[in-house]
Subunit: 331 residues, 2 copies
């Protein structure tokens, strides 16, 4: 009502105090190398608070050349559950360092202009690899700090972050006595790269343990391919299935039930990501839970390292992927 929509600037604070803008700036920024008596310092702080001063981010960004924005590029995967806590953690850590974490999900259709052009982030950090075109676009927008530095999709997809859980799945099924296994992935194209990485990991782990990974295929409920798959697996003597994620696992369990098989007795099934749904079903779904908080910290620290050369934590994140045993694999 009373207050006009004029924004309070540092100049206002200075004028109201009879000081220069520079002094106010030094106080507000805690600029090192300045000798400002505590009394003045406090007067400035108090007056800034009284007037409700807020630094103008756009002006700061222009003057300092840094936007304090970190852009996280996410793949076009539905991954809300496994990501929620990670993002919360990361954005909290970054926030404390003064950075804003903005997420950007690529879509197949694509934006006319990607978010990095519009936001001028200091750092772009990608969950998976960045295509050459994207990298070029980012560089053209003046972004020099782009993570991960890895160019090859392969390198990223075989990274422990994304495949550790798959190893655990296979190991768990093996421990439960299963020797003839299958791996079920998604028909969703969006997942294809990740699915390949996990399938490879499954094969690797099975080989290592001396189990047989006899089949590996995408399944879907709409075309009946899950039910078919389940029948064939059963016929082949396969007794356990590791799934790409909890959705696929749930689908597989449902298909087994439709085919008159019992889970886990005729077919054991394990999912991945430990979504809330896993515990809700009947039979409840064994799964792999990921250390989302750890991931979040790791992500944030990577970003801070790139943004301002903070030391990167020595140890790569111990991601504590862990098996959650529920009914679908319990003997």
């Amino acid at each position: 009502m009373t207050q006009r929509k004029k924004r309070v600037t540092a100049t206002d604070v200075a004028r109201s105090l009879g000081l220069s803008r520079a002094t106010v700036g030094y106080v507000l920024n805690n600029t090192p190398g300045q000798s400002i008596p505590p009394a003045t310092r406090e007067r400035v702080m108090a007056e800034a608070a009284r007037l409700g001063y807020r630094p103008h981010r756009a002006a700061q960004a222009l003057a300092s050349g840094r936007s304090m924005i970190i852009l996280l590029v996410l793949p076009d995967w539905p991954m809300e559950h496994s990501l929620r806590l990670t993002l919360e953690t990361a954005s909290h850590v970054l926030d404390e360092a003064g950075y804003a974490l903005v997420t950007y999900t690529r879509h197949e259709g694509g934006q006319a202009r990607p978010l990095w052009e519009l936001l001028n982030p200091d750092v772009v950090i990608a969950w998976t690899a960045i295509s050459a075109a994207e990298r070029t676009s980012m560089q053209a927008s003046g972004i020099t700090k782009i993570l991960p530095v890895l160019q090859q999709e392969q390198a990223v997809l075989s990274s422990p972050t994304l495949t550790a859980g798959t190893h655990l799945q296979i190991a768990h099924l093996y421990e439960q006595g299963h020797r003839r296994l299958a791996f079920a992935t998604s028909v969703n194209e969006r997942f294809s790269l990740l699915a390949q990485g996990r399938a490879a990991a499954a094969r690797e782990e099975a080989d290592r343990l001396g189990a047989e990974l006899l089949d590996l295929r995408p399944v879907d409920h709409r075309d009946g391919s899950v039910v078919r798959a389940v029948r064939e697996w059963h016929a082949q003597g396969i007794t356990a299935v590791a799934a790409f994620n909890d959705d696929i696992a749930a689908m597989t369990v449902a298909a087994a039930q439709r085919a008159g098989l019992s889970v886990p007795d005729d077919l054991a099934v394990i999912g991945h990501d430990d979504t809330p749904m896993a515990g809700m079903l009947y039979p409840s779904l064994s799964s792999v839970s990921i250390d989302n908080v750890g991931q979040g910290h790791y992500l944030a620290n990577q970003a801070l390292h790139a943004a301002e050369y903070r030391p990167l934590p020595e140890a790569p994140p111990d991601l504590h992927a862990a098996i959650v045993v529920r009914e679908s694999t319990r003997r």
Copy 2:
């Protein structure tokens, strides 16, 4: 390698062309009221492209006073599936108008500083109501355009956008011949407001139709309350349950199975949101699908209206909530 990390500015383009910066600016911004010959216009465009000129958003924001950022504040609900397409659509529409859509999810812990302070968005648009504290904080950050304008939670929560589907659920169960109904909600505190709104809608619809909504309670699988609920419902002669969302519905179906009941014969269950999971289960889950594209357009147009006084589309969105009938309610 060759190129320094210097950013190309409009001044560079002007100098390289022997023109003034203003002329270049007029061309690049298509500023009306200027008479610039097509030849010059093209020279400028060509040179800008050649040098790889990108406007510096922070400088633009400072000079124009507008950031071209629209911030969408989301509630702390897991709602990825029902939201994904909405967001894609909205951000696409906004993108074409030159705006960037950034989403911000509030967390219980909360950021030290909310995103609107850091981004200076032109418009903040909230999925649900904004608390007085949030509104104050936004206004202090110099944001004047805040949507929705409604202050009361109630008004928002009883809005058709959020409750239309619930009406459909009850109507569908009624049509299938069910007269004794229950409504199952989530124990998740995050949902409480929305759950209340939907529960009220369920009651209203049941009253309207002359059905009995005999019970209405939060259920959970971890404390055994779903199984208990299912048993009690069956004992009371309740034959159908409308659930707050697909998760709750899936949980209810599983509990019924555990209790030895058959779905839908002993108990029909319908979910809400039509998540991908709904079709995957056994029995597959009837649900309510929402017109996400329509919602996205509506959201975007609301934002554009606030941002630059574009006409608001006359008709409020006809949200095409629709029942998807699957096995869990099929007679």
